[in-house]
């Protein structure tokens, strides 16, 4: 391809509008011809100006207003369907209510934790006696014993020798004694 044909086709080449074979031979010519390469740069610069318009933005509310005018003109007495049927709406509200209840019940449980029903002590006297006697408060982190909810006196260093063996401490319990 020569300079004359290249210069003629540059306006289409710059936008990718030439068939592949022609574009290939034009690119080959431009690569070795500084005057044609300069022309290509100038076309690219002016096209970049056009491409800058792609980044424009419409004023806020443009499309809502557009749609409202068309709607009023064509369907003055028809209300748009919301896109959500009433059973969906009911289910959505029920789900929100359930989540709210779950959070409320959970929160109540957490708040009530220090003073639960007294029945636990009467039902489990042996467990209570054994653990209170050996590891007050430490080894029972995951089991709830109402008697231990009150502030405990400091553990005397000698009591530590009466701790149960490590393998009876609940999994994940403290082990840094």
């Amino acid at each position: 391809m020569g300079c004359e044909e290249t210069l003629d086709l540059l306006p289409l080449f710059v936008g990718g509008d030439l068939p592949r074979d022609k574009a290939g031979s034009l690119a080959g010519h431009v690569a070795g011809c500084p005057p044609c390469a300069r022309e290509l740069i100038l076309y690219r610069e002016s096209r970049a100006g056009l491409l800058s318009l792609r980044a424009e933005e419409a004023p806020e509310g443009t499309f809502g207003a557009l749609r409202a005018v068309v709607d009023r003109e064509l369907f003055p007495r028809h209300r748009p369907r919301s896109g959500v049927s009433w059973p969906d709406e009911v289910l959505r509200h029920a789900a929100v209510l359930m989540v709210g209840l779950a959070i409320g019940v959970g929160g109540y449980g957490v708040l009530r934790r220090p003073s639960p029903a007294p029945v636990a002590t009467a039902e489990r006297p042996s467990v209570r006696a054994e653990l209170v006697g050996s590891v007050p408060g430490r080894a029972v982190g995951r089991v709830f014993f109402p008697e231990l909810s009150a502030p405990l006196p400091p553990i005397a260093p000698e009591h530590r020798f009466y701790l149960p063996k490590v393998d009876v401490i609940p999994a994940g319990g403290e082990r840094d004694f």
Binding site: P11, L12, G49, L50, E56, E57, A58, E73, L74, P80
Partner: protein, 208 residues
């Protein structure tokens, strides 16, 4: 704020079954189906009008008019054809009619250009420079004859393929390429500040 997005180099998209079903509902007078169709196409319609007319309010009016005409004529629309090229054709024709009524240079919306700032770029000097570039591009585009401006905005700004443009403007692919060739040469000359005679000359598309 809504951003315009262009797609490079696509060919003509054929109507899919979902859209055909939607258009059939519109043909039976279903307002919700028409609203759905509008939601899908109103942004691109608006941007085509804006790039042709460079005025936010006029672009909105033209888009509204295009959709109203579409609804009133949809009974005659052949669902085997592309809805979007038909809609954009109506929009471009309305724009060209408007441009011919208004003399060149009077549609430049200088006051409305404040909304063109790119939020992704925080540097005010950079923003101002970009806004200035866009202002200048609009002014140069306004000096082009409508048929050149139409192909240039449809191809380079809105990213339609030459095949799509030939459906939208209602001429052959060769004519679109001829107009595009001529439009890019003219625009480049204007961009470089060269005084050019911009005449709405006849199409010569044999070589394209």
């Amino acid at each position: 704020m809504m951003r315009s997005v262009a797609v490079e180099g696509r060919t003509v998209k054929m109507p899919d079954a979902g859209e055909v079903a939607l258009i059939r509902k519109v043909q039976l007078g279903d307002p919700d189906a028409f609203r759905e169709l509008m939601d899908k196409y109103q942004r691109r319609t608006y941007w085509i009008a804006f790039h042709m007319l460079n005025n936010y309010d006029t672009a909105r009016e033209i888009s509204q008019e295009a959709f109203i005409r579409v609804f009133r004529n949809i009974a005659r629309f052949d669902v085997k054809k592309n809805f979007y090229t038909w809609l954009y054709q109506i929009c471009v024709n309305l724009c060209i009619d408007r441009m011919r009524k208004v003399s060149h240079g009077k549609t430049v919306d200088i006051d409305g250009l404040g909304g063109l700032a790119d939020p992704g770029r925080k540097d005010p000097a950079d923003q101002e420079e970009r806004a200035e570039t866009r202002r200048r591009v609009h002014q140069l585009l306004d000096r082009l004859p409508p048929k050149y401006k139409a192909v240039l905005t449809l191809r380079d700004i809105n990213g339609f393929s030459c095949e799509e443009i030939s459906e939208i403007v209602g001429c052959t692919n060769a004519t679109v390429r001829w107009r595009l060739h001529r439009a890019r040469r003219l625009f480049r000359a204007l961009w470089e500040g060269k005084g050019v005679e911009v005449a709405d000359d006849a199409d010569v598309s044999d070589s394209f």
